[in-house]
């Protein structure tokens, strides 16, 4: 393997600010092969633009430490005239906001010609000739070169920026958010143009972006930046299909694309204040699976299975794993072959930390039994269930009790799951009493009620189930599940008893709580329309077995199994008007509101 074109080692950029030293980049390492393409992705504030500028020496020298090598030459020791020889000739930058990247008082062409004359020593005529060629390559004409910046559209300026960046034929082109702020069509054109230019000129690309689709389309390698550190790096394709680091995973989940029908879910919390990064792993306050070590020690960026990941746990953890579960019920009180009902047949599944997995199937498909098995309410005939790595059947005593606490179930019918003589306070407090939780249990009850949007004071606490509406009681039941701060919620048809509007409200609430607390959730429902709005992954169950599973977007847009397609067609829609071919009344068994 030849030496890389660009090699960044332990790059640190810090700025003095009134709040203290802001460490915008803290030990970043990157490598980029000649002619290769690397994407650096991350949220706003992760340090992406700081990195782009550091590569061109645009920060004050005293702010930058570490090594930036281009073709073996150390750039970070250069003085200003030294950098001036590197800039544009060897590393060019297509800056963010092309809209403001041009000097308003000169023609666009003059600004492209400027570095050509300066760096390549071309004459005025030669330089303009070259500018025209560049304009042509980027799909522009003489007219655009003669125009003043304000006379050009955003897309045209973006192209001119690119033409300007390519003018001196650099070895490396740094693209800072080349697609941000553009409409989808010009964005697609820009990506196509960049692909073509790269194929033609063989220049290396460093793409700085929060646009994951652009990264996928343009690069082979991706590094994920969080709060000034690389948290994961590897081949773009692998990284975007099977993210390892919880941040990458959250970033992908938050990313809107055409193949996702799910509502947007953000990564909980905020990017840390760069002047006061948290101790330990910088992502731990937002992480769904943080353990003690994450709060205390900074995880090193380590090679794990062909990829670099900075996570003490090695990446996204599997919260719940079930292997080959079986459950057979006996009807008629005696065990004959015709009275056995195989409710669950060889089901294996996994729920990742912070993930929402939807289990979809019609009545009798075994999904409720599966839910009860996973929640520990039933014991499987065969197979094993692991929660946070522990076999839930093997543990008992105090450990088992603690484990039960971390898995909570929300039943389908709230009226069946509460003692009708209990008050709201007693209902929500009961798990705390059973678990002998220390501390002010009534305060915990009030917190849990507040979290589900119920009044936590006065008369409401003394009400009994028959005095509450279905929606209120279901919220009380959710509060009862939340009061123990579980890591996994098993919700079996949590809104099927409610009218659609209250159901939607409750589902939003549940999703929000799940997101804020970083819980895993297994959502069991017959309602595909509902599940696809919240679930990251969908499992389709039929006759006790899982017949199809995958990312929500994939299952919804490219269902593989006929049964899934049938479920999709039967999902409620407004196509029951005379001109529609299918309607809800043709498939009343899989209906939305469920008037049970």
């Amino acid at each position: 393997m030849s030496a890389p074109l660009l090699s960044v080692q332990n790059l640190r950029v810090s700025f003095a600010s009134p709040d203290g030293n802001v460490r915008a980049l803290d030990g970043v390492a990157l490598e980029l092969a000649r002619g290769g393409a690397l994407a650096v992705v991350g949220e706003t504030g992760s340090g992406k633009t700081t990195l782009a500028r550091a590569l061109l020496g645009l920060h004050p020298a005293e702010c930058v430490a570490g090594s930036i090598r281009l073709d073996g030459d150390e750039l970070n020791r250069l003085d200003e005239p030294g950098w001036q020889r590197v800039r544009w000739r060897r590393i060019a930058l297509a800056a963010q906001n092309a809209g403001t990247a041009f000097d308003p008082v000169y023609r666009a062409g003059e600004q492209i010609v400027e570095p050509l004359r300066l760096h390549l020593g071309l004459s005025e005529t030669e330089a303009w000739q070259r500018a025209r060629t560049l304009a042509e390559q980027t799909g522009l004409t003489e007219r655009h070169l003669r125009a003043y910046p304000h006379q050009l559209s955003g897309g045209e300026k973006q192209r001119l920026m690119l033409a300007m960046a390519l003018s001196c034929q650099p070895d490396l082109l740094v693209l800072d958010e080349p697609t941000s702020g553009q409409d989808m069509r010009s964005r697609a054109q820009m990506i196509a143009l960049l692909r073509r230019l790269r194929a033609q000129s063989g220049l290396a690309l460093l793409l700085i972006s929060h646009d994951l689709a652009a990264a996928a389309a343009l690069t082979e390698q991706t590094a994920v930046l969080y709060a000034g550190k690389v948290v994961e790096a590897g081949a773009t394709r692998d990284l975007l299909t099977t993210p390892r680091h919880p941040y990458t995973w959250g970033l992908l989940n938050a990313y809107p694309n055409m193949t996702t029908t799910r509502d947007l879910s953000s990564i909980r919390g905020q990017m840390p204040d760069p002047a006061r990064p948290p101790d330990g792993c910088r992502f731990h306050p937002r992480c769904n699976q943080a353990v003690d070590d994450c709060r205390r020690f900074e995880p090193p960026l380590e090679r794990r299975g062909g990829r670099l990941v900075a996570c003490h746990l090695g990446g996204v953890q599997t919260l719940l794993q079930a292997d080959n579960l079986h459950k057979t019920f006996v009807t008629n009180g005696h065990a004959g072959p015709d009275s056995l009902i195989e409710a669950v047949r060889g089901v294996s599944l996994a729920v990742l930390a912070g993930e929402v997995v939807g289990v979809v199937g019609e009545t009798g498909s075994g999904k409720t039994t599966l839910g009860r098995l996973l929640a520990g309410l039933l014991t499987p005939d065969a197979g094993a269930i692991y929660f946070e790595g522990q076999d839930i059947q093997a543990v008992n005593g105090a450990e088992g009790k603690n484990l039960r606490r971390r898995i909570q179930a929300i039943p389908q019918d709230p009226f069946e799951s509460v003692d009708p003589l209990f008050t709201v306070r007693q209902i929500v407090r009961q798990p705390l009493d059973i678990q002998r939780i220390q501390g002010d249990r009534d305060a915990l009850v009030r917190d849990a009620l507040a979290a589900v949007g119920l009044p936590a004071e006065g008369g409401f606490l003394q009400r009994r189930p028959h005095e509450l509406s279905g929606g209120q009681l279901q919220r009380v039941v959710i509060a009862r599940a939340l009061v123990l701060e579980p890591r996994l919620l098993v919700a079996d048809e949590p809104v099927s008893m409610l009218d659609p509007s209250e159901g939607a409200r409750l589902m939003n609430l549940l999703k929000r709580i799940q997101n804020e607390r970083g819980m895993g959730m297994l959502l069991i429902s017959h309602d595909l329309a509902l599940v696809r709005k919240v679930a990251d992954r969908i499992l389709v169950m039929r006759g006790g077995a899982i017949i199809e599973q995958g990312l929500s977007s994939v299952v919804i847009s490219r269902p593989q199994h006929d049964y899934t397609r049938a479920l999709l067609l039967a999902a409620p829609s407004f196509n029951w008007f005379p001109d529609g071919s299918q309607g809800a009344d043709e498939s009343p068994d899989i209906n939305n509101t469920g008037d049970q």
Binding site: L56, E80, Q84, A95, A101, D103, P104, V105
Partner: protein
């Protein structure tokens, strides 16, 4: 352009109306034998009455006034017994010399120092210049003028104390003449320059700092351009756009400043003329001076508009 013509018309009309809106008749004091301002010369009295034609209906008076302006007839000075146009013609060049010299000097120094201070923002030089700018900008002109007069005129005796030129001097050569004029001009012009300088410095510095934080400056640096080119070709060029308008707005201020300074240095310009005319209630001259000042300020603004249009392609189109 239409806007400026309208502005000129409004100023001239105001000039016509103001004396007539004053309580009583503007000429009452002049024509009343009991008043201190009584004009004894009967010929002058008659020409005044004829010029103002106060018996005629207001519209006719107004048209007569405008017609007079167009033919350069601004009336007759009561005090100097000369046509107002001739009196103004004697004094205006001096004021223009003083004002334009100071404006020019203040602009050149202000632009240069403002650009350098912004480029080295936060450096000791920037801090010192900014502090000096704020202090000097707040000293009244007559105070600065007095100090300069005492130091360089009275104590060191380097420059003449008053006047626009040496009285009754005969110049052996053009050089001698220029030298004499320049020596007389130096202290008044310096005083006015100091008065105008700090706002120009602060404006250019502020606008330059704004421009330096623009994305296109970052791109210019990324393009590997040398510092001088970024500073002058890109940053200063853009920072000058607001300066041009400031300069026009400042022309009026410069003129008023010049009036004080002329009085202080006994410089033979408009300032002294207006001072003396006010003291003598020489209304025709005051009115004439008002016309000249209005035209000057309006022209400066028109010029600024034209310049901005030349400098900024975004405005050229609009």
């Amino acid at each position: 352009m239409v806007g400026y013509l309208f502005g000129l018309w409004a100023a001239l009309t105001l000039n016509f109306l103001l004396p007539r809106l004053l309580p009583g008749d503007p000429l009452a004091a002049l024509l009343d034998p009991d008043s201190a301002g009584y004009v004894y010369d009967s010929a002058v009295r008659e020409s005044l009455e004829a010029y103002y034609g106060l018996d005629a209906p207001p519209v006719e008076q107004y048209l007569h006034y405008l017609a007079g302006l167009f033919t350069g007839d601004l009336g007759q000075s009561i005090r100097l017994k000369q046509p107002v146009a001739a009196v103004l013609g004697d004094h205006l060049p001096w004021t223009l010399l003083l004002t334009l010299t100071a404006l020019g000097l203040a602009s050149v120094i202000g632009i240069w120092s403002g650009a350098e201070a912004a480029w080295r923002r936060g450096s000791p030089m920037d801090k010192a210049l900014t502090a000096a700018g704020v202090v000097i900008g707040n000293i009244p002109v007559f105070f600065t003028g007095m100090i300069l007069l005492i130091i360089f005129g009275a104590t060191l005796n380097w420059f003449p104390l008053s006047g626009g030129r040496t009285a009754f001097a005969r110049y052996a050569s053009a050089f001698d003449a220029v030298r004499d004029y320049a020596e007389h001009l130096f202290l008044p012009a310096l005083t006015l320059t100091l008065a105008l300088l700090s706002s120009k410095f602060l404006l250019v510095r502020g606008s330059m700092i704004g421009v330096l934080s623009e994305d296109f400056i970052l791109v210019a640096r990324a393009k590997g351009l040398p510092a001088g080119r970024i500073k002058h070709h890109h940053a200063l060029r853009n920072a000058l756009l607001p300066f041009v308008h400031h300069l026009a707005a400042h022309a009026g201020f410069a003129l008023t400043g010049a009036l004080f300074i002329e009085a202080l240095f006994d410089y033979p310009g408009m300032g002294r003329l207006i001072f003396e005319s006010v003291a003598a209630r020489d209304y025709p001259v005051i009115q004439g001076a008002f016309v000249v000042v209005s035209v000057f300020v309006l022209s400066a603004n028109r010029l600024a508009d034209w310049l901005t249009m030349r400098l900024d392609p975004r405005i050229r189109e609009g």
